[in-house]
């Protein structure tokens, strides 16, 4: 039943940089449990990140790991996957990294439907730079760059992913590790581009600025802001109003980029051989 986490961790890189109460470690463990369940060979796993608190994750993991520039994890990961489609490529990113500076790459990776799983460690704030508002900061919530409360609308990570063409979309809260495991495992199994909106609480910057209490207070609040998508039919519109569904929200089957490219190679390669033979 229990797995040996140290099989997948670079022990000498501990302790990690995350603050007490941060949910990132919980999400990281969910990713490891999913990989363990799939029994992927560690040599075949590549974990790519951008810049931010979440993006320090690859450094702790005993895989092929790549810590890139801010917002650009998906393009680097796309290069890795296209160059060697046998590799299992996972991108870990934050809400600022994936949805602001990397927003263009996000929608195009969805559109391309390349077999990569993007796990957005979404804590609604720029943690590493000290608590600035992000594209998922709730309207009215404070950040150091929104001292009077954010006046902008936040992105719905999952809605955007589905609209842009991702073939797996899910959301889970770090407080519900069982659901997080289920959603992340399903995302890794998807033959296409997957997005998981993984909610994490930033107690240090978001919690303190917004007086949302400690980690357990924030978890309770997030629970109240969400509902299980499987109960959607049983809930009234009023009960769902302004709340976010959690669980596996969308799955579809569409052509995957690397497979399509392999077909393209098959299609054009013999033609050239034939043409050469005719000359």
């Amino acid at each position: 039943m229990s797995m040996d986490y140290f099989e997948y961790l670079r022990k000498d890189k501990m302790p990690h940089i995350w603050c007490p109460g941060c949910g990132h470690g919980t999400i990281m463990k969910s990713i490891l449990r999913a990989i363990d369940k799939l029994q992927w060979n560690k040599d075949d796993v590549v974990v790519v990140s951008g810049i931010g608190c979440s993006s320090r994750t690859p450094g702790y993991l005993d895989f092929n790991t790549l810590h890139t520039t801010h917002g650009r994890a998906l393009p680097f990961a796309t290069g890795v996957k296209v160059a060697n489609p046998k590799l299992h490529v996972i991108v870990v990113s934050g809400d600022g990294d994936a949805m602001a500076i990397g927003g263009n790459h996000f929608i195009h990776a969805c559109r391309r439907n390349i077999e990569i799983s993007l796990i957005v460690f979404n804590n609604n704030i720029y943690g590493m730079t000290g608590g600035q508002a992000s594209p998922t900061t709730f309207t009215g919530s404070r950040g150091t760059t929104a001292p009077y409360g954010a006046i902008e609308q936040p992105f719905d990570v999952c809605g955007l992913a589905q609209g842009a063409g991702a073939t797996f979309v899910g959301r889970a809260l770090d407080m519900d590790a069982v659901a997080m495991d289920r959603v992340i495992l399903a995302s890794l199994k998807n033959k296409g581009f997957s997005v998981v909106d993984a909610w994490s609480q930033c107690t240090t910057y978001f919690g303190r600025q917004n007086k949302w209490g400690d980690a357990t207070d924030m978890m309770q609040r997030y629970k109240g802001m969400t509902y299980n998508v499987r109960l959607s039919d049983k809930l009234s519109e009023e009960e769902k109003e302004g709340k976010y569904p959690v669980g596996v929200l969308y799955q579809a089957t569409r052509p995957e980029f690397c497979e399509e490219y392999d077909k393209l190679i098959e299609r054009v390669r013999p033609q050239e051989t034939k043409a050469a033979a005719n000359v």
Binding site: L74, G79, K81, V82, L264, I265
Partner: protein, 378 residues
């Protein structure tokens, strides 16, 4: 006996031929004039060779994708022009810092900003040297003929793979779009360098940034069992971030030292009648073609003129510039910019010899007659 493979190609097409001949099997790009033909040709040719072409959403993504592909073991390239080259700068620095081999082609057009998209220019020359932030190495090649586009593209990949860095191929729009005969050499005549791999067995500890005697750490690819870490942060030999002052100092210096140590093999240049040259012209790219004609005409008029033509713009061929200017009383640096490489030449020659710029930023190539006037005038 095999029939020679004779083509009549534009520079952008010759670049594709050179890249494919040296083993480039991954290209990521975004359309921009006047470089787009490179992406177009690559999209047609690569899948026929089992390689991969991907059109990315922008230039930031294009350079990111080639770095990722290179880490996964493919020889990778992108091509762009001025504005796109500006967008790529951050990740060019990443490739240099993380020591990931790749080739970036910049077909230079007029700038700044959107500038003159279809006109020739050499106004990105110092950007190729100093475009990305921080102290960093630079290997920059600039060809003048179609055959040389082919050859420098081969060299660019060889230098990138051997040195573990990003190499920039700076082609001006004249060379990119003009057509000349190109005899593509047979594969047996093309020298191919591959990244140096360590001897590694499963269970071994691999240090991706270990300082070796030649200052270039051997490189494993992702998926080969070493499971190493790559970051743009300052790192130690293990590849993990460090804030240790001694390691910061030595790590940053090694990036430059590895280029300096190999400067002789990285330096490509042509001397044309420089042995006794009293008037030396230093010119590169298409401007050097006009300069060569002007030097010939000056010689006919009895002036001892000569041309030094750097093909490797950076690392700066200082020794070769000094040698070519040994007898010079005057040096002229014609450029389709407002005097960028002239600054470098001046820096080498000091104030001992007057260095004149001959500069045009009007979207026209520099005519031989203009250079001849500069040679003849006192």
């Amino acid at each position: 006996m095999t029939t020679p493979n004779i083509k009549f190609l534009a520079g952008n097409e010759a670049c594709v031929e050179g890249a494919l001949a040296v083993g480039c099997r991954f290209f990521a790009g975004y359309p921009i004039s006047p470089s787009s033909e490179i992406a177009e040709k690559m999209s047609g040719r690569l899948p026929k060779l089992g390689g991969k072409f991907i059109q990315m959403e922008d230039e930031l993504a294009s350079i990111g994708a080639i770095i990722g592909a290179s880490l996964a073991g493919k020889k990778a390239m992108t091509a762009t022009s001025g504005p796109g080259f500006s967008l790529m700068q951050e990740n060019i620095g990443f490739a240099m810092m993380a020591e990931v081999p790749c080739v970036v082609v910049n077909v230079m057009r007029g700038g700044p900003s959107t500038g003159n998209p279809t006109g020739p220019s050499q106004s990105d020359v110092l950007q190729t040297r100093w475009g990305t932030h921080g102290d960093h190495p630079a290997v920059v090649l600039s060809p003048a003929t179609i055959r040389e586009v082919f050859d420098t593209t081969v060299h660019a990949f060889n230098f990138a793979e051997k040195m573990r860095t990003c190499v920039v191929l700076a082609i001006d729009e004249v060379v990119a779009h003009m057509r000349e005969k190109l005899v593509i050499p047979p594969a047996s005549e093309i020298k191919i360098e591959n990244r140096h791999k360590p001897s590694f067995k499963p269970g071994d500890t691999y240090y991706p940034y270990e300082t070796t005697e030649n200052l270039i750490p051997p490189m494993m690819n992702y998926g080969e069992g070493a499971r190493f870490h790559v970051t743009g942060l300052n790192h130690d030999k293990t590849g993990f971030p460090t804030g240790n002052p001694e390691l910061l100092e030595s790590g940053n210096r090694r990036l430059l030292d590895k280029i300096d140590k190999h400067i002789d093999e990285l330096t490509l240049a042509e001397n044309h009648r420089t042995d006794d040259a009293e008037v030396l012209v230093v010119a590169y790219g298409s401007t050097s073609r006009s300069a060569k004609r002007a030097v010939e005409e000056a010689r006919e008029k009895g002036v001892k003129a000569g041309l030094f033509r750097p093909i490797t713009l950076f690392p700066l061929p200082e020794k070769q510039i000094l040698a070519a200017a040994a007898h010079a009383r005057k040096v002229i640096v014609p450029e389709m910019n407002l005097g960028q490489y002239k600054l470098e030449v001046e820096r080498v020659l000091g104030k001992a010899i007057p260095v004149e710029g001959l500069n045009r930023v009007n979207g026209e190539p520099i005519q031989p007659s203009l250079i001849l006037s500069a040679i003849m005038g006192d």
